[in-house]
């Protein structure tokens, strides 16, 4: 028996995304491409044009009178419960009945024969309100005495007050961190088809089919088993379709049942961006104490977030900001407090990193402050504050870090990026160049992997082998471009030692795998890959038992290898073998299951082991800044990122590159701008600017730490990749900060708030130039 013939698309290979050919030919089907049944109706949302008010009246006469309009839906038409809060807080009505809580809040839906008619009719409502004062940002909300949307969290270790007293150097400051729109290219969409009894089939573009199913059932007042949610693929998610799709699913479903017709609801881009949540903006007040070498002794930070009008996922998001407020640094004494503020803005939600990036950003700001105060290279300050490998390794939430690989990773990147030499060259350049200034920064990331809600760390899968040897694979994760379906199919191909092409990847549906978790928290492959492997192994075990008894051989004599099954000296094709197994009445289908071991979290105590493991990475970026306009360009970025043993290096590098650019966009040109009336004015790509190809670093070197292997028993020893590299974009902000600081000879921390648009850069430069020594 030989191992020379390899299957195509096994694990650890650069297999193409399973839909790549369909993507490039336009044949990949998205929700809006699904063939519509005859008589399909179209829904559209009518929204508020004030930020905060008591509803006095809503006159929909003109809406209903428009030719082509079939009817309207208001809160009165909701058969079940008027709430779509994903965390069960009962604070997020489908349609409000008493109060408007943000500008652009959906108030009703209009159903018409075409989408165009529905859009036009939705504008004809006549509202009467009693206007209330509004608070848009967390500081204004605190000043106005607004409540928290959810219970704050405190993490504490050591004695902060004592440590502050016994340390000489203290810096207090504030960083204002902007939010971010997901700007997935495919917007929100739901398409509901009514069936017999209470049945509903909902096609949509959600990262969380089970939650959409449960929300539809709740709002319809029917059991979960009546609702099927189907998702073949998303045109991008990034967290924006974790809970935000619920609204669209329930509205389409109510209308579908009410008129017994298929109903599609697809907002235009402006409505998508104003009516759905975004990354949380944060205002972080930091208070750091450090010794003369720059070693941190105490950290005492308050993290306030713009949560919007309801809790949505703001509890776990602000929690995760605290979990990552240390980034890669050991705080001997620490106190971290979250303030999840209610505001009169759309309810903010999940976005790649889930609060983590905001926490990390404040850590990096403190490092910068210390570096400027002690006159050191920021990298040196980072290094002396890194977690240790065997000591100085306890986090603010009392989890001991056992897998720290940052020292090796940073050293490697520092050398390959030639950081020290380039920094010297840059300082010389800045001395001579009057207008253009450069900056460079090397920043680390450590990111905890697992849902902090421990029960989410479970997954299911379903595998059938049909009697012709073809394999049908299903699991609870959703495909949104990250290549999850490809990786899971690779795992199954590897388990049966058959070609990838033999495996049919099927849509995610609540009919096949129930009670799934969101495809979120970077966990898709970790959880679903394990569940699929479990299913494959169950079938394999039955097949081996069958072969051993049929051929009367020991089980060790049965081997699956390159589309063949070796049974002692005999060798059958996989297809022939499966046929025999079928004839022998072997069950060729299995449901797999997985739950992450060893994790626990006591939120009240602020202690536990919320993360199964950590993923690491580092980036070194160099920028060039025009000090006359604040415009800039990223000259070069080098990245070294840890994905453990990569299941698919090509897909993983794709995630790292994409996450870096998205993180850079968050911190540079992507600006959410509300006017005084509370209306978001950057709500489409014409006004909200995500990076372009030309914004990429002029030199962009991305590598995986190929020596890394997960110390935990994850799927094939790989690590999660979705979120961690997002924070590599912080290297660009830190490099910009250095370039700005050069105008004052690096004497002062520029305290750049984000996004660091050309305007913020120029204003920081002018502020520094205007300040005395």
């Amino acid at each position: 028996m030989t191992d020379l013939v390899k299957i195509s698309g096994g694990v650890y290979t650069d297999h193409k995304h399973d839909s790549a050919t369909k993507h490039v030919t336009g044949q990949a089907e998205y929700c809006d491409d699904i063939l519509e049944p005859i008589g399909t109706l179209h829904a559209y949302l009518g929204v508020s044009d004030v930020a905060h008010a008591i509803i006095k009246g809503m006159d929909l006469t003109a809406v209903k009178a428009m030719p082509g309009v079939v009817g309207v839906l208001t809160a009165k038409d909701i058969p079940g419960i008027n709430d779509i809060s994903p965390t069960g807080q009962n604070d997020e009505p489908v349609f409000p009945t008493d109060k408007i809580q943000f500008y652009g809040q959906p108030l009703f839906a209009v159903i018409a024969t075409t989408r165009d008619i529905a859009r036009r009719a939705a504008k004809l409502a006549v509202m009467s309100y009693d206007i209330l004062p509004h608070a848009l940002d967390p500081i204004a909300a605190q000043d106005a005495g607004y409540p928290y949307v959810t219970a704050p969290l405190k993490l504490e270790r050591g004695d902060v007050l004592l440590a502050k007293k016994s340390t000489q150097n203290h810096i207090q400051g504030r960083i204002i961190i902007g939010g971010q729109d997901h700007m997935y290219l495919e917007g929100q969409i739901a398409f509901a088809i009514p069936g017999e009894d209470d049945d509903l089939i909902v096609h949509c573009s959600t990262q969380h089919p089970s939650e959409a199913q449960h929300m539809v059932a709740l709002v319809m007042g029917i059991p979960n088993n009546a609702v099927t949610v189907n998702v073949r693929r998303l045109g991008g998610g990034f967290g924006g379709k974790e809970s935000q799709m619920n609204l669209f699913c329930v509205v389409a479903s109510i209308a579908a049942k009410k008129w017994n017709r298929a109903v599609k609801l697809r907002p235009d881009r402006d409505q998508d961006m104003t009516a759905t949540g975004k990354r949380h903006d944060f205002v972080i007040d930091y208070d750091v104490s450090f010794d003369d070498d720059g070693r941190i002794q105490a950290v005492d930070n308050v993290l306030a977030a713009r949560c919007g009008f309801s809790s949505d996922l703001s509890g776990p998001v602000t929690d995760r900001a605290l979990f990552h407020a240390d980034n890669a640094y050991f705080y001997p004494n620490v106190r971290l407090v979250s303030r999840p503020m209610k505001t009169n803005t759309v309810s903010n939600t999940a976005f790649r990193g889930f609060g983590g990036p905001q926490g990390v950003l404040a850590a990096e700001r403190m490092i910068e402050e210390i570096a400027f105060a002690t006159g050191q290279d920021t990298l040196d300050v980072r290094k002396i504050n890194f977690y240790g490998e065997s000591d100085r390794n306890v986090t603010p939430y009392h989890q001991t870090i056992k897998d720290n690989i940052l020292p090796r990773l940073i050293e490697q990147l520092e050398n390959t990026a030639d950081y020290r030499k380039r920094r010297k060259v840059i300082i010389d350049f800045n001395k001579n160049s009057q207008i253009l200034k450069k900056g460079i920064a090397l920043t680390p990331v450590k990111f905890g992997i697992s849902f902090t809600a421990t029960w989410y760390n479970q997954a299911g899968a379903l595998i059938h082998i049909y009697n012709d040897g073809s394999i049908h694979l299903n699991h609870g994760g959703t495909e949104m471009g990250q290549g999850l379906h490809t990786k899971v199919a690779q795992i199954v191909a590897d388990a049966f030692q058959v070609d990838f092409e033999r495996i049919k990847i099927t849509k995610t549906t609540t009919e096949k795998v129930p009670n799934t978790s969101a495809t979120a928290a970077s966990s898709g492959t970790d959880l679903n890959g394990m569940a699929a492997l479990n299913a494959a192994e169950q079938i394999k075990e039955r097949l081996i038992d069958f072969a051993a008894s049929h051929w009367k051989l020991d089980k060790t004599q049965i081997k699956f290898n390159s589309n063949m099954v070796h049974i002692g000296a005999e060798c059958l094709t996989f297809n022939a073998f499966i046929k025999l197994a079928y004839i022998d009445r072997i069950q060729l289908s299995a449901a797999g299951f997985y739950k992450t071991p060893d994790i626990h979290w006591d939120r009240a105590a602020g202690k536990g082991q919320p993360f199964y493991y950590y993923a690491y990475g580092a980036a070194c970026s160099e920028v060039l800044v025009d000090t006359l306009t604040g415009e800039y360009r990223v000259e070069r970025t080098d990245i070294l990122h840890d994905v453990g043993r990569s299941l698919n290096p090509a897909l993983d590098i794709g995630q790292v590159e994409g996450a870096f650019i998205q993180g850079m966009g968050w911190l540079t040109t992507e600006e959410l701008w509300w006017d005084d009336a509370g209306q978001l004015r950057t709500h489409a790509p014409s006004t909200y600017k995500i990076p372009l190809a030309s914004d990429r670093p002029r030199i962009f070197n991305v590598n995986l730490a190929d020596w890394s292997e997960n110390r935990e028993l994850t799927i094939k020893r790989s690590k999660a990749v979705g979120e961690p590299p997002f924070m590599l974009g912080i290297s660009v902000l830190e490099a910009l900060s250095m370039a700005v600081a050069s105008v004052k000879n690096y004497q002062k921390c520029p305290r750049l708030d984000t996004p660091a648009t050309p305007e913020r850069i120029l204003m920081a430069i002018e502020r520094l130039q205007g300040e005395g020594e």
């Binding site: 995304h17 790549a20 050919t21 993507h23 490039v24 030919t25 336009g26 044949q27 990949a28 809006d32 504008k123 997935y184 290219l185 917007g187 693929r233 998303l234 045109g235 991008g236 990034f238 881009r269 402006d270 160049s433 009057q434 207008i435 253009l436 949104m480 471009g481 060039l624 025009d626 006359l628 306009t629 415009e631 800039y632 897909l651 794709g654 590159e657 996450a659 870096f660 650019i661 998205q662 600006e671 701008w673 004015r681 489409a684 790509p685 014409s686 006004t687 600017k689 990076p691 372009l692 190809a693 030309s694 914004d695 990429r696 962009f700 648009t757 050309p758 305007e759 120029l762 204003m763």
Partner: protein, 487 residues
């Protein structure tokens, strides 16, 4: 005059004749809803993301040229006489992937895949013209395509490698160029087209004289050239546009005339069409031009439209005003000329009388000793609307500034000259002090507004600093670069 009440075009391989076309019907809705060609996607419906990118082939001076456009803001009525190519047609009848598609697959150029058909179309259009592009040329070609997943790196890698996967011989469309040209020639009957219901009517004039006549009859008609602005009135604001007079096809408005003294640009010349001439006559506009919108919009948008729209943040008015451009307006058979700055009266108000239309723009060639610069500043460097744009022209004789024109966009309700700053410079010696004084004078020229693009403070600072940049850029003793260059 013979009228036609239908439009004719080729969609992929098929000839299409439509009678029932509404003025506000978009090409994208036609493809997706009527034809169920769902490979073309709607990402933003405002011409900014490129997910809806298709090719429009049309005859210009008898030669078939394919250009990428945004189907979301291109009106269906305006494709009369064109060849529309959507993603479904690229692989050809045998279903074999086109080299562009193959490269995208091999280099992992798609993740979620929603933007991918649009990227493939843009890269295809680039490859047709330029099979071995530089990295920068690729970036410029995909300025109008947004991707949120990949970070673009694998797409650029794919674009640089297309030739590994086949040459023009593998291009299905290339093989049928001649037959398409013939088929399009047959469609040209030079008749006025009137189509659509009375309250949603589209008119395509037969020629420029016909346009003048139509506007005499219907002075309230909405004139649509590239539809890069009016498209959004429909898709975003649901505004009625009837009767809509489409003029983008009029060869008589697409004339570019270069003489010893002037450059005259027909109103319907697009940004793309004027680019090569402009870079010869006014080399200082080369970089500026690459910062105007994305490729699709540069292929659709016209110079006349950018002026007639009257926006205070249009890209061309400041630089054209600085260059002493005149706008030539026609009304019936009457023609009048106007210095461009006088055309802009107030916000939303231009010196365009009933039945007037912009016929052309005439720009004098630069004088000897004339120093010109054009700067645009925006939140995102490319494919963004300017926060501030400025055109600066200074004539220098023996070290003395003898003439000076400075025009800003984004600083007032209209594109506007900075007269006080000009006065401060006029007659002074060429030195930084003069430009600093001009910068201070700007405070009396403008009191800009704050909005989501920029605050008034930033606008003021940058407008001052750009005068400083101008001095440094043209000053012979400047040793280090004073602005970022595209690489």
């Amino acid at each position: 005059m013979l009228f036609r009440d239908e439009i004719n075009f080729i969609l992929n391989g098929r000839s299409v004749t439509l009678k029932d076309v509404k003025a506000n019907q978009t090409l994208l809705d036609f493809l997706r809803l009527d034809q169920r060609l769902t490979g073309t996607k709607e990402g933003c419906a405002e011409g900014d993301c490129g997910a809806c990118t298709v090719l429009v082939g049309r005859l210009h001076n008898g030669i078939l040229k394919y250009e990428v456009v945004n189907a979301c803001i291109r009106f269906l009525a305006s494709v009369d006489g064109c060849h529309i190519v959507s993603i479904e047609y690229l692989a050809g009848p045998n279903g074999k992937l086109h080299p562009v598609q193959k490269a995208m697959v091999e280099y992992h150029g798609s993740q979620c895949g929603f933007c991918t058909p649009g990227f493939v179309m843009s890269l295809y259009a680039l490859w047709m013209e330029n099979p071995l592009p530089t990295k920068r040329e690729v970036e410029v070609a995909i300025q109008g395509n947004l991707c949120r997943c990949t970070g673009y790196e694998p797409i650029v890698r794919a674009a640089l490698s297309i030739n590994q996967f086949g040459n023009a011989a593998f291009d299905y469309l290339n093989a049928e160029r001649d037959s398409i040209t013939m088929r399009l020639l047959v469609l040209r009957d030079c008749k006025r087209v009137i189509i659509g219901p009375h309250d949603n009517q589209a008119i395509l004039p037969a020629d420029v004289d016909d346009l003048a006549m139509i506007l005499k009859e219907k002075p309230d008609a909405i004139i649509i050239a590239g539809s890069t602005d009016v498209g959004l009135w429909v898709t975003k604001f649901l505004r009625p546009i009837s009767p809509a007079v489409f003029i983008g096809h009029l060869e008589g408005l697409k004339v570019i005339t270069v003489t010893d003294d002037t450059l005259e640009i027909g109103a319907c010349v697009t940004y793309s069409e004027i680019q090569s001439t402009l870079s010869k006559v006014f080399p200082h506009l080369i970089q500026y031009w690459d910062r105007i919108a994305g490729w699709q919009v540069r292929n659709m948008g016209t110079i006349g439209g950018n002026i007639a729209g009257g926006s205070p943040i249009g890209d061309t008015p400041p630089v054209l005003i600085a260059l002493k451009a005149e706008v030539i307006l026609r009304n019936g058979s009457t023609v009048r000329n106007l210095p461009l700055e006088e055309f802009f009266i107030d916000y939303g108000l231009q010196d365009r009388q009933a039945s007037d239309f912009v016929y052309s723009i005439r720009i004098p060639r630069p004088e000897a000793n004339q120093l010109d610069s054009a700067y645009k500043v925006s939140k995102r460097r490319e494919e963004d609307i300017s926060s501030i744009a400025v055109g600066i022209s200074v004539v220098l004789n023996d070290g003395v500034i003898t003439a000076c024109r400075i025009a800003y966009g984004g600083m007032a309700a209209t594109p506007k000259r900075a007269r006080k700053a000009e006065d401060a410079l006029l007659g002074t010696l060429w030195n930084i002090k003069a430009f600093e004084a001009a910068g201070i004078a700007l405070e009396h020229d403008f009191s800009p507004l704050s909005d989501w693009r920029a605050s008034k403070e930033y606008r003021m600072s940058v407008s001052r600093n750009l005068l400083r940049r101008f001095f440094l850029e043209h000053n012979l003793t400047t040793t280090h670069p004073v602005q970022l260059s595209p690489v």
